[in-house]
Symmetry: C2
Subunit: 121 residues, 2 copies
């Protein structure tokens, strides 16, 4: 019987590095990824896809060129494809991302903060 619950809090204990999303589930060609983030990220966009953020604990700002959204635990936001954004967390927060397989954290910007996109925990 291959159907087992995916417990998000338990999976989060396996996310040991900040800014390194880890895959916990796959839905068709989309993946659910957990990440812990703190501080400032880089401006980037995903030209091919929207990106969903769900806040599991803590608080996250997503800055846009024309404003920002402040997200708390139990809130979510969809960043539309092609829209530049920059996540920022004053304190460590835990999030779930939903996006197509192969989507990288730095999108079109690339660079040294690009994480592996397909590591399962």
């Amino acid at each position: 019987m291959p159907y087992t619950p995916i417990n998000l809090k338990e999976k989060l204990t396996k996310v040991t590095e900040q800014w390194q999303p880890r895959v916990v589930a796959q839905l068709n060609d989309y993946q659910f990824k957990l990440a812990k983030i703190e501080g400032d990220f880089i401006w980037h966009s995903h030209p091919e896809t929207d990106e969903a953020f769900i806040i599991l604990s803590g608080e996250l700002d997503i800055e846009f060129r024309d404003g920002k959204v402040h997200l708390s635990e139990g809130e979510m936001c969809i960043v539309p494809k092609g829209v530049e954004h920059k996540p920022f967390a004053r304190h460590e927060c835990s999030i779930m991302l939903i996006e197509p397989i192969g989507t990288t954290n730095t999108g079109d910007a690339g660079g040294k903060r690009t994480a592996e996109s397909n590591i399962w925990i």
Copy 2:
């Protein structure tokens, strides 16, 4: 500035009927739907797509022909496409579904328990 948080608890207060999923967000051609369910549903499958269940409150069993999975708050499960399943909740539980636009709650089974699939709250 069109980016506003989607607060899942607040949205749940707008889900006033059981077994009637309501859309709260869209990611490319996928939708995030909230639902309150209690009791037994019908056996069905979704021949074209996987389906994600995330438990927001309460507990949910998803029965399969060869077993079942018991899900509690903070847990999720992917039902693979084409796999027959039957949700059951002893007490009312609140869930979020992620699935392609147009996916209906009764899938290939259809019938009188089929809900509108694209009502936003």
